[in-house]
Subunit: 392 residues, 2 copies
């Protein structure tokens, strides 16, 4: 029988990137295409130790049903963690445990967006966010990125004329551009969204991974009116396989998010929650994060230096953290052909157009990931890119 | 700011049962209200051992991103497990790993149900399923339960006149009634749904927990046309906190379910997946399940005997497995008042009306859970119910 697919899902395609990545099982491939944390970034001894301790100390508590909001002690530990540099969690907020940052986007869309409604998004931005928003029937309106974040003039125009249900952004070390929204722009985004009564979905998976410059306060820390839904992921600082994030938002909307959680997967895996809480409370988490920053600083510098040295014709962003460099090819180079030739030579990058709301608009950029490859593969891969570029 | 809530979520309430359960932190309360596995039912030594082994042997594999379909070896282990008594997974099917049985309902609703569409459901049935279906804007049409499963005459009328997008059922030891759909009715349900081109969502969280009688083939095992989406949960045989289920369905719809998974939480926690696969492949899982059946058989018999002895005026189902007894009070007893008086006397049962599509219709039944309480609490609790009944 042919299933009749719902309207909201009929137009959806599997994630281009995940499909590309699945085809990349070739171990000789140098991949700048993924978004995985470095294999040596996981606090694996701590996780193994706390896992063993918890399963021995409280096996029933680790294995029995729990509450949809998240284990109370875990929520408290996450709240302390999220609040340690800036005042993110207000008195009138809840901190909920969810199964990864993607799920915050899912629940925000489900709770706030009717089918056919407009959602404003940074453009380009995280493709997974676009897909989730679209899977609830959202019509996306892109707001172009400038070097210091979204274009506020366009944002105001969109807020005023399209009455979006939500504005989605990644202020820190954005995926795919690596750009960071300036403090002034954060204030501007907040004031505009507050003025037009549009909730902000602030996605912050990379915020802890700063490798240069100074921390910029999250938009949530400016939030007097309770309009910001903030997602802090543990995928990039602990482990993506644990599927863990903390969603911080006003109690009113948090109640709805909890209903969405009940309806979706009841609660997040207790093992992930409690192991995370122990890592946060019983290890020097800031020392661990400092070590990650060292790893990523070294890799980022390696990639940026290689690009500058070997591919001077490629323009690129200089990310202050995160995992990505946004590299723009000279105008005479056909970007899709370049990506295809690199892949033939066993170097994978993601064509930049897939990160735009309208992916059919011509694009000269590619996304390069520096967190997963080894430093020697970074050198080799960029050298191959230089060869390909010369050959075109 | 007051958030504008989407139409689909604006009408939703937090799960009545989960809210009741949250208020039941009083340790002196005897609860027949929950649906938790027995605390001594978890294979906790095996889980702890395999967890330690896996985190030592392959820490990066345990902590790094994985694929949305589920870890291939885990899918294969689940497929073997699901197929060991009946041919559930056909050649043209996929077996996907998801984060609990609830998520199968979520994805099926998301992929198949437009807002305003009708979904046919067993009535009464699992409240969590109703809520998830409603959270995608489904209009539920209940099909009454007979002793051996749904009323086929009403089902055909609903299929013919309302063109539902889905029929939801729990053929084994149904929640809340404890009833099992007969083989003849399974064939009847399958043939009717095939005739009217209506997909079947077969929810089977309790199938392994048979305490008497003979296994009845799942509807999925009759499925020549690929119309059944089958959900096998590991919550009741391993651990609900692991959040694990296997979704079996035709490859065509499975592709859509994978897109829904990508959009929701990317993939299921790898720790849960791989620990489960080891339990399935490296322990005598059938011996473990036999031990669970012994636990639940003893508890069920204790509850049924206590009811027969102490509350002969209460009619009840005699479940062949699962976790629930559906107990119907004499006509002169006001059910909500009975539930309230029991709670005053520190015995909790769930008022039966909450499991109906229309929960405002008068109902004389309550749902009693026998899996969580101790045998001595079962005796004490039923004795208190008898006192309350006499007092009314």
């Amino acid at each position: 029988m042919e299933f009749r697919i719902s309207d909201r899902m009929a137009a959806m395609k599997p994630s281009v990137i995940r499909e590309i990545l699945k085809q990349m099982s070739d171990p000789t491939l140098i991949s700048f295409a993924g978004g995985n944390p470095a294999a040596d970034s996981f606090p694996k001894e701590a996780i193994a130790r706390f896992s063993a301790e918890l399963l021995a100390e409280d096996p029933v508590g680790m294995l029995q049903y729990s509450v949809s909001e998240g284990v109370p002690a875990v929520r408290e530990a996450m709240k302390q963690f999220v609040n340690r540099r800036f005042h993110v969690v207000r008195e009138s907020d809840e901190a909920l445990v969810v199964s990864g940052g993607q799920q915050v986007i899912d629940f925000a869309a489900k709770c706030l967006v009717n089918e056919g409604d407009t959602v404003a998004v940074e453009d380009p931005a995280f493709l997974g966010a676009y897909n989730t928003l679209r899977s609830y029937g959202a019509k996306l309106v892109g707001v172009p990125m400038e070097d210091d974040g979204v274009d506020l003039t366009v944002l105001e125009h969109v807020l005023k004329t399209q009455a979006p249900r939500l504005f989605y952004c990644i202020p820190n070390f954005q995926n795919p551009t690596g750009k960071t929204m300036s403090y002034e722009k954060r204030v501007g985004v907040y004031e505009l969204c507050a003025k037009y009564n549009v909730p902000i979905l602030e996605d912050d998976p990379y915020g802890e991974l700063r490798i240069s410059g100074e921390d910029v306060p999250p938009i949530k820390s400016l939030d007097q009116k309770g309009i910001v839904i903030y997602a802090a992921s543990f995928s990039k600082i602990l482990s993506p396989a644990m599927r863990l994030a903390c969603c911080v938002c006003d109690k009113g909307i948090a109640q709805r998010m909890v209903v969405a959680k009940q309806c979706c997967d009841v609660h997040t895996t207790v093992w992930s929650q409690r192991v995370c809480a122990r890592v946060l409370t019983e290890t020097d988490i800031d020392a661990h994060i400092e070590a990650l920053r060292d790893i990523y600083r070294r890799k980022a510098n390696r990639m940026l230096n290689a690009l500058d040295t070997l591919c001077p014709a490629i323009e690129h962003t200089v990310p202050e953290g995160g995992m990505f460099v946004w590299a723009t090819l000279p105008v005479h180079i056909d970007m899709p052909a370049f990506v295809a030739k690199c892949l033939e030579q066993k170097v994978a990058v993601i064509p930049g157009n897939v990160f735009f709301v309208n992916e059919s608009v011509p694009c000269q950029s590619v996304r390069m990931n520096y967190s997963s490859p080894t430093v020697s593969d970074i050198d080799k891969g960029v050298a191959i890119m230089a060869d390909v570029l010369r050959s075109m």
